[in-house]
């Protein structure tokens, strides 16, 4: 029998593409953010802040279109789960964009030539690289409906969390210079923001599992660590 409701299916597919395309926008924003951190580039940081409107716009636009599909097409089963997951994922993407903005807003606070500790900068850039990989993995796992790939993100995110803790230790040991301590504080905020982006990527992985299995479980419960679902 020929496929029916072809237009609806195509629209749903296109909306998935638009929503997941938001991850590319976030990935680009994070790359610029890391570059701005590395070079203390205040102008580039301002571009990231301004450009976040595109991520927000994508969020609102796809969100509205998904609500319209719900209202007009009565999706059920996998389609319904996909739409619910996309609504969730859009929110994660929007939050990831906001975290880049949070980082870029603190970059000017430390001035043009801050008393930077190169080891700590290197740690944060490494965190950023790992997190960018997580974003790509979330997108690919979603596109391929690959639960194993999604679940694998938990361990990769643990690496980011560990780097975040190392940043904290470095900040503690940074010495008595008031300017350098202030700089270290902003870097801790930065590390924390990047760590949150990783968590959001893992949340998207959980949505992949929901789309495929119909069961929504957190991969790892932050309030009960070690008790994997």
């Amino acid at each position: 029998m020929p496929e029916i409701r072809a237009e609806y299916q195509e629209e749903l597919k296109a909306l998935e593409g638009s929503a997941l395309g938001g991850l590319d926008l976030v990935s680009a924003a994070l790359s610029r953010t890391l570059e701005a951190i590395e070079h203390q580039d205040i102008e580039l940081a301002q571009i990231v802040v301004a450009d976040d409107d595109r991520i927000d716009g994508r969020y609102l636009e796809v969100h509205q279109a998904l609500i319209t599909l719900l209202a007009t097409q009565s999706p059920v089963a996998t389609d319904l789960r996909l739409i619910a997951a996309l609504l969730h994922t859009l929110k994660n993407i929007e939050r990831m964009g906001d975290q880049c903005v949070n980082i870029c807003k603190v970059i000017p606070m430390s001035g043009h030539e801050p008393p930077a500790d190169q080891e700590m900068v290197k740690l944060i850039l490494t965190m950023g690289t790992h997190t960018k990989a997580l974003i790509s993995q979330a997108k690919r796992a979603f596109e391929e409906r690959n639960v194993e790939m999604a679940r694998d993100m938990v361990e990769r995110d643990d690496v980011v969390d560990e780097l975040n803790r190392e940043c904290f230790q470095l900040a503690l040991a940074i010495g008595d210079d008031a300017d350098q301590r202030e700089w270290a504080m902003t870097m801790l905020l930065t590390a924390r923001a990047i760590e949150r982006i990783g968590d959001n990527a893992v949340d998207i992985g959980e949505q992949v599992a929901f789309v495929v299995t119909g069961l929504f479980r957190e991969f790892e419960d932050a309030s009960h660590p070690g008790a994997n679902a």
Partner: protein
């Protein structure tokens, strides 16, 4: 009397044998509760379970339904969905022995009403149909009968002598139960055919419930109704399940999703092949995470 005998056979738990000289109807249903209840409310009671085991249905040589085993749970609404020709209406009609009324039609397998085989030897099909009532696609009130007589018709056919007072009480309770009383109470002597389609369907539901059945079978009861009348019937179904076990055949999947607790999906491999049960589960599961791809494709509207 034949009807009395089978009534006792089926109703030993909820419907004790009537004593000599007492009126059958006032024993059978909670008629006497009517006056103490707020209008339109029904009291909950446990209705009976219908169980099909290895049911095969035939029209002559044609094998229409193949090997259906499923349970229609008490006080729940079970929706039967599937494309035309998949056997869901044929199956529904086997549940109160209406299938066999078609010339050449036959049944293999067993259907139990709370453990009693409705196809068992010596069972009167008429008694089965009184315990397992049917509401049809097209509202079919007796056209020349008044609204009152339409509801009371089953009492007249089934129960021998019923006093006027008891009959009045049953008619009022049934019409209230069908959410129709307020609309017709001042014109009970007018013909049922003068009502709107939605009202006629509620009249047919009142007629079906007047004889205090255990199970109500509904064959696309809303397909001839407008959306408002449809929602009124769906509200009514939700109310009726407190007293009855309900099975409903519907082509409207959103209706199945809205109005049922369990959903059974029927399909056939190709035209000319028998229909079969693909999957039965809670309506939530069928519409959010069906187990079979066939079900998924059907409820998602991917295939005609």
């Amino acid at each position: 009397m034949e009807g009395r005998k089978l009534r006792g056979m089926f109703g030993s738990q909820t419907k004790p044998e009537t004593e000599e000289g007492q009126n059958t109807m006032s024993q059978a249903g909670p008629v006497t509760e009517t006056s103490s209840q707020a209008p339109g409310t029904v009291s909950a009671r446990r209705a009976k379970t219908l169980e099909a085991k290895g049911v095969n249905l035939y029209y002559g040589d044609f094998h229409a339904v193949e090997n259906v085993t499923m349970t229609i749970e008490p006080n729940k609404v079970t929706a039967l969905i599937g494309s035309s020709g998949c056997g869901k209406t044929t199956f529904l009609r086997s549940l109160n022995r209406m299938h066999e009324l078609t010339p050449g039609a036959s049944v293999k397998g067993d259907i139990y009403l709370d453990g009693e085989d409705i196809y068992g030897g010596g069972v009167d099909p008429v008694a089965v149909r009184r315990l397992v009532g049917m509401v049809f696609q097209q509202p079919n009130p007796f056209p020349t009968m008044s609204i009152y007589d339409n509801v009371a018709a089953g009492l007249n056919f089934n129960a021998g002598k019923v006093s006027k007072g008891d009959k009045d009480a049953v008619v009022e309770k049934s019409l209230r139960g069908a959410h129709l009383w307020d609309e017709v109470k001042d014109r009970l002597d007018r013909p049922g055919s003068g009502l709107s389609g939605g009202q006629q369907q509620r009249l047919c539901i009142a007629r079906a419930t007047a004889v205090s059945p255990e199970v109500l079978l509904m064959d696309e009861p809303c397909s001839a109704l407008d959306p408002v009348a449809t929602l009124a019937i769906e509200d009514l179904i939700a109310e009726l399940k407190k007293e009855y076990t309900i099975a409903i055949v519907t082509h409207n999947m959103q209706q199945a999703a809205r109005a049922s607790d369990n959903t059974a999906f029927f399909n056939l491999d190709e035209s000319g092949k028998p229909g079969h049960l693909v999957e039965i589960g809670t309506t939530e599961d069928i519409f959010t995470r069906p187990k079979q791809k066939e079900t998924e494709d059907y409820v998602s509207g991917r295939f005609g």
